[in-house]
Symmetry: C2
Subunit: 257 residues, 2 copies
């Protein structure tokens, strides 16, 4: 018995055989076809994938089979779902190494990426319990908060909320925060000797304000970074970084011993 074509392919697509008698499960066959179309650009970044119904008709398979294939691609990060709208193709993600403490601009420049920061706000606020504890102040003490929206190749990629002592914050905003990393200003202009940072990495959902700034749907996944940077062993810069899950990843080599 020769392989049986179970369905037709969407118009404009190269032909692909999906067959129920192959030892490879149908959803795996479909996943690999869809993967190929994403990687060869037939489905370009940010484009909407065909609907489940369209794919059911095109491949001649059940909804559950299509969902399994899409689920696998979603797990890999090749596509993402927007509630009530369907599945979309993810872009290749930019990545930053965690092996060395670097500002985002510094880290991206060697790969030829263009970075830019939009200053959202710069103001005095009362230190929350967490901010005070990290910067070795008392809760309610005045601290300087700088909020920036960071762009990578002209697309928003992260919201950075940074806290400094009042004196340091007021000095920082006199510098060109649009074009330069705060780390670089701290070292080169202000003579601070940055030594290390303590970093926490987790995943959260975008609230309405982060989603709006980042141009993504509310509740989209974000990487949330809490980073406390030290100069000569004293905490100097406490930050929350919110990176778009669909656009960014960290990379790292870890030794066993």
């Amino acid at each position: 018995m020769s392989p049986v074509r179970k369905g037709i392919v969407p118009p404009g697509q190269a032909k692909d055989d999906v067959t129920a008698i192959s030892p490879v499960p149908l959803h795996t066959q479909i996943r690999e076809i869809l993967r190929r179309r994403i990687l060869d650009g037939s489905y370009p970044p940010h484009s909407q994938m065909p609907s489940e119904s369209q794919m059911m008709a095109a491949f001649g398979v059940s909804r559950i089979t299509i969902r399994q294939a899409l689920g696998d691609l979603q797990k890999e990060g090749l596509i993402f779902k927007v509630m009530g709208k369907g599945s979309f193709v993810a872009k290749p993600k930019a990545f930053q190494s965690l092996s060395k403490l670097q500002g985002f601009g510094e880290a991206m420049a060697p790969s030829g990426y263009e970075t830019y920061s939009l200053l959202l706000s710069a103001r005095e606020v009362e230190a929350s319990q967490l901010v005070a504890q990290r910067l070795e102040l008392r809760p309610g003490d005045a601290v300087f908060e700088i909020q920036r929206l960071r762009y990578l190749n002209r697309e928003p990629i992260s919201v950075d909320v940074s806290y400094f002592s009042m004196a340091l914050g007021q000095r920082l905003v006199q510098e060109d925060l649009a074009a330069r990393d705060i780390f670089v200003i701290l070292e080169n202009d202000l003579g601070h000797n940055l030594t290390h940072a303590d970093v926490q990495i987790e995943a959260i959902s975008a609230d309405e304000s982060l989603a709006r700034h980042l141009g993504i749907a509310e509740a989209s996944p974000l990487l949330r970074i809490e980073r406390l940077t030290f100069a000569d062993e004293r905490p100097i810069d406490f930050e929350f970084l919110y990176y778009r899950g669909d656009a960014f990843q960290y990379r790292l080599r870890i030794d066993r011993s």
Copy 2:
């Protein structure tokens, strides 16, 4: 003029003053009250926060003010939203250090955490393009896939999908995968000399199957880890780890130079 109590507090709660004439914005005052209630256990982990309408009435403020306060707490990871249901209190997150390559059980044991793995599946599959490339095989070659649901203190925390050569995978499933880390089995029982791993970290949304295994709502944020572990400089173990965003974080100290 003395501070004016703007509203009442929810029944059963300690009294808290929220005042429009304080220099501290209303939403900040409310955020700090809610934060205190979360941290002192008045709102315990996994409990549902009062609704926006209840809080509007209790504090005598507008919906936008409540939303700002909740947005801040969500950004900090203290609460999380479930679409159509409201806001819930997050648990304190377990964390694992990224400074040293360790299995989850190894990493958690010193903190007194109990870990356990449920074997979801162990089977031969065809290597996808990505799996084949990482393990230095050809796409379509047979590989051994082990899927485990990992528990921390009897709650599901991650789904781990691991790929091995056929021979190694078939050997591994003869061991006690419920109680022991694969890293430990590889080293102690099978004599492999693990050297390092290359790790990618990103944030994704849970698809239906991950959400079901992890006992969370579909589209909840997850940390997604791609990890390729080497023994004597040869790739031996390629994995996808999906950690619940509400339950887990990575920590790391990074040096500037």
